[in-house]
Symmetry: C2
Subunit: 219 residues, 2 copies
DNA sequence: CGCTAAACTGAAGTATCCTTCAGTTTGGTG
DNA sequence: CACCAAACTGAAGGATACTTCAGTTTAGCG
């Protein structure tokens, strides 16, 4: 493609001015990406939006792909940190409560810039394909896995690795759809997610015992 | 962009020869998309792969976007039809059994061309953004919704619309991840998905009752 | 066989985009 | 204040890509 073998390393910003420029470039990338998609993401446009010349952009980044990946990494890190933090601060709680709190935290983070979240997801999928999902989710997955392990006593008979995989991606799928359909704020969403996770862990083996043991009041 | 206001309608293929050409073009699009992603999807390359000249391509399609959308529509239709068919043929069964069968059918369809599935997902997300998700999933969602309604008696107290939304997207998220990590063939996957869905419907209210109403051991 | 419409060809025109680098401006420092 | 390195500029070179259309080939048919 365009990217020939690159010979020299990009510069790292030394002065404060330069560090600010890098920040501005990243933010500009995020904005343009949301507004015009990856197809409309142009080095020129990014530079323009950043109020900087194209040359400057190339001084710190290999091109738009690296810009996007950097923005994405930050976004992912933010979400992961929030989740990890919540996981720690709720270590003493019962699993049900803990999971709800973690889901709540996750929703909160994702609510910050939903459209950016979506745009990044789509773009990274296009840029790095399956490898992207693998990388990104494996982190969260192992975090979830270790949380589940903390409650192993309550989860006898549950394949924790499988559970981490299924639950992480199930929740992710729902949240992604919620973003797309603008349902993130729906107060029922958090309930539903909690129910989804706990329901799985509770393990409705194969038989539905809803209208049986569970005396749900009819009306 | 490139696509100025188009003035004349694309031709519809009249002769069998032309209809075949259209098919070849669609298949070529699918192949190139999988191999090089949307960024590497070029009208020239599509035509080349199809063994046809570029001009021919533009005789039937507005450009690569329309090609991709057409391929995607077919793929979605295939999956939806399989699901709808299964939903009908299992109408008499209990909900648990029915859901498992439908999930099995869905997995089978998705297993056909996993990488195409992924590539299309990524590309459509980039092309049409949220609107794509909305459109595509709403179909499946309403199918799921009506299936759930058939078993309304067993599902008292469940918000069926919400359930359809959550379950459809949760399952979708897991399957997408399974494709990316090459776990589609994992025999545990179908179990897990079934458990996910039934667990939600079963509605583990808020309390975990896993290991025999295990009084939450202190630790 | 001869004719018409459908189908097909592919070189050419136009539009961007990417990326570099020689030159200019700015910050820090003795 | 003078100087060096860091930071920044932006026009220009190079590479495709998209799309059209005038011309050629082919299918169907009387």
């Amino acid at each position: 493609m365009y990217a020939k073998a690159r010979e020299f390393q990009r510069k790292a910003p030394r002065q404060a001015r330069a560090r600010a420029t890098v920040e501005v470039l990243l933010e500009a990338t995020a904005q343009v990406l949301v507004e015009r998609g990856y197809a409309g993401l142009t080095t020129t446009r990014i530079a323009e939006r950043a109020g900087v010349s194209v040359g400057t952009l190339y001084q710190y980044f290999e091109g738009k792909a690296e810009l996007v990946r950097t923005v994405h990494q930050r976004q992912v890190a933010r979400a992961f940190d929030a989740l990890a933090h919540k996981a720690l601060s709720t270590e003493a709680l019962a699993i049900a409560e803990r999971i709800e709190q973690m889901l709540r935290a996750l929703l909160e983070v994702k609510s910050a810039r939903p459209s950016l979240s979506m745009a990044l997801h789509a773009t990274m999928l296009e840029l790095d394909g399956p490898a992207y999902l693998e990388r990104t989710i494996s982190q969260t997955q192992s975090l979830v896995g270790s949380v589940l392990e903390n409650h192993a006593d309550d989860l006898r008979g549950v394949d924790l690795d499988l559970a981490a995989f299924v639950l992480t991606n199930a929740v992710d799928g729902v949240i992604e759809a919620a973003i797309a359909t603008d349902r993130l704020a729906d107060p029922h969403l958090i309930e539903a997610l909690t129910r989804l996770v706990l329901g799985y862990l509770d393990g409705a083996s194969a038989k539905l015992r809803v209208s049986g043991s569970n005396a749900t009041s009819p009306g």
